[in-house]
């Protein structure tokens, strides 16, 4: 059974997504439960792999359509064009993150999005989005990766357009679709360059045969930049505030999660192909530059926003900078030939990947709390908000936990990953650490502004509506995970992060 898990992770959400409209016509409650159960099943399946993949270091291969799907790779790529799937330590880390958070965001949205005839579309697209993420994470050939990237992009842009409080989402969804289509077109061009030379889409095979031609290097740029654009790296970031701010709150969290899945693709391609054709140093330096630029521009832009969701969206840009900085330092020294990678490069990568997980948690929680604020005040304007904490202490508390975590305040999870990044990057260049700490201070300043504006001051004119139980439950679980990781980071680093970094570094 467990050998079929790779294909089940994609097949279950895809099949359920096609069944949901029919189930929704019969009974809406059963439809909502079915979608939730599908996400729970893939979440449990991903947890079942921890023992084999993370502890026993086993790698799962799967060739869809082959008589013996798990053995084909060992026989030497008899059929080079097949849907090739692979789960290793690096992909499993992101699979666990994606399934767990998709489930928690789904719990939130199941009661946050009001029940009407359009919720059928919402549920179907949400499950398609999960399928897109899973497909990207386990794809071992570039074309399959591209197909699932498209599934993720199309379902995301449709969900961004999902109307809730305001009338602008269709424009935001159109903008997101436009950006995604530019990105995926260039990505397809990169795939074409490689296929034209080597006649295969398989990532492992391409790694073996690539010989560092100019066309290889052009292909790497064409593969990496679209993913960087989808992550919101400065200067290709302006779609992020426009899109995140207009989408419904749980969808902002999901689109952010989708961006982190694109970051997975970015890292995987950079390490697999970049190291192989001897451009890892150049790519590492570019990652560091993009990281610093994203951190600084993102946080300074966030500080002056008065729209709560745009402010949070600019912070999403800023936080991607930390991840690029950590992993970029590791990438730039991985082929240096001295002890740099062992001394600080690997630690920086651990910090970068740990920050991906932490960021997904607290950023998701922040977007969820912003949804409650916006729903209460009927506006995103911080100038109009005041005093919500007088009536809604629960939202104030969870917002404070997430805000302190993103600002890197101990003892929360953001502090731990930032500390690892600061300490390791300091060996590479102390100036980078100073910039990172300065950005963290500005992050705290801007979230103090949000807390002061939305939660303190005079009580609001009317009392907020009591939040449904699943909305509260999902936020409580996220808060508990944030605090628990902050207090006991060693376990998750040893079990999940370090094996993932080893797998990434030795691709």
């Amino acid at each position: 059974m467990i050998k079929h898990v790779p294909v089940l992770l994609v097949a279950i959400p895809l099949v359920v997504a096609f069944m949901l409209p029919i189930i929704g016509m019969v009974n809406r409650t059963i439809r909502t439960i079915t979608a939730g159960v599908a996400i729970v099943i893939i979440m449990v399946l991903s947890y079942l792999l921890i023992q084999d993949v993370m502890i026993c270091k086993k790698i799962f291969y799967y060739m869809v359509g082959s008589p013996d799907p798990t053995a084909l790779f060992e026989h030497g790529l008899t059929f080079p064009i097949r849907i090739a799937l692979k789960i290793d330590q690096f992909s499993l880390l992101f699979i666990i993150m994606a399934t767990t958070l998709s489930f928690l965001f789904y719990l939130f949205s199941s009661q946050y999005i009001e029940e009407n005839e359009r919720k059928n579309y919402f549920t179907v697209l949400y499950v398609c989005m999960v399928a897109g993420m899973m497909g990207m994470l386990i794809a071992n050939d570039l074309f399959t990766f591209f197909v699932f990237l498209e599934i993720l992009s199309i379902s995301s842009s449709a969900l961004v357009s999902f109307r809730t409080e305001r009338k602008h989402p269709p424009y935001a969804g159109y903008k997101y679709m436009f950006v995604s289509s530019i990105a995926t077109s260039f990505f397809l061009l990169g795939i074409a360059f490689l296929y034209a030379q080597y006649g295969s889409f398989n990532i492992d095979y391409l790694k073996k045969v690539m010989d560092g031609t100019v066309l290889d290097k052009i292909a790497i740029v064409m593969l990496i930049l679209p993913l960087a654009m989808k992550c919101g790296v400065v200067p290709m970031h302006m779609w992020i505030p426009d899109t995140y701010s207009e989408a419904p709150a749980p969808i902002s969290s999901m689109v952010k999660l989708g961006s982190l899945i694109c970051l997975y693709g970015l890292f995987r391609i950079a390490f697999t192909f970049g190291s192989h054709v001897y451009v890892s140093y150049e790519l590492g330096i570019l990652f560091i530059l993009f990281g610093v630029l994203s951190m600084f521009v993102g946080v300074t832009q966030a500080l002056i926003q008065k729209d709560v969701k745009r402010l949070m969206a600019f912070h999403a840009v800023s936080q991607v900078g930390y991840m690029l900085l950590g992993v970029g330092v590791g990438l730039s020294v991985i082929k240096s030939g001295d002890a740099s990678f062992a001394i600080y490069g690997k630690i920086a990568m651990i910090g970068g990947l740990f920050h991906v997980i932490n960021n997904a948690l607290y950023k998701g929680l922040l977007f969820l709390t912003s949804g409650i604020m916006v729903r209460h005040y009927k506006t995103r304007d911080l100038n109009v908000m005041h005093g919500l904490a007088h009536y809604d202490k629960f939202t104030a508390l969870v917002f404070m936990i997430a805000a302190l975590a993103i600002s890197g305040i101990p003892p929360l999870n953001g502090f731990v990953s930032k500390l690892i990044i600061y300490e390791s990057v300091f060996h590479y260049n102390p100036l980078l650490t100073l910039i990172a700490i300065f950005v963290s201070v500005l992050t705290l300043a801007s979230f103090m502004k949000v807390f002061y504006s939305a939660f303190l001051g005079m009580p609001p004119e009317r009392k907020p509506v009591e939040q449904p139980i699943l909305v509260k439950f999902s936020m409580v679980i996220l808060s508990i995970i944030i605090v628990a990781i902050g207090l006991f980071p060693q376990g998750i680093i040893k079990l999940l992060i370090e094996p993932a970094v080893n797998a990434l570094a030795t691709f």
């Binding site: 436009f178 790497i220 740029v221 200067p235 290709m236 690997k346 949000v450 005079m458």
Partner: protein, 112 residues
């Protein structure tokens, strides 16, 4: 492969929790000693005091008022950012093409 040393991470969270609890206890003790016994939060004493205006909305310092010095000092930086990223769809193409060109020059070694 070098083993990740947890000692490298100088982070003892339980110590921080203990420090936090000690500060809380000290705060409560100091409060009991020095704070007035006749303070009643539910009476007028608990209301905030605003000077200068009786208009409740004007008594609020809004989000736009915060960090005005920072914004004022960096006005030229923000103006140039606004000019560079006006968020038109054409902007995305423009920046994407520029970055593709720069990256191609660096990665293919054309600048060497």
């Amino acid at each position: 492969m070098h083993e990740f040393e947890l000692e490298y991470l100088n982070w003892i969270p339980l110590l921080w929790v203990c420090v936090f609890l000690i500060i809380m206890v000290l705060f409560i003790i100091i409060g009991k000693i020095f704070f007035r016994d006749d303070f009643d939060e539910m009476s007028e004493q608990g209301l905030p005091f605003y000077s200068g205006t009786s208009n409740k909305m004007l008594q609020l310092i809004t989000a736009s008022n915060l960090y005005w010095g920072f914004k004022h000092t960096l006005q030229s930086y923000f103006n140039s950012l606004n000019r560079l990223f006006i968020s038109n769809l054409g902007d995305f193409i423009q920046w994407f093409i520029i970055i593709v060109a720069i990256m191609l020059l660096i990665i293919t070694g054309a600048l060497m």
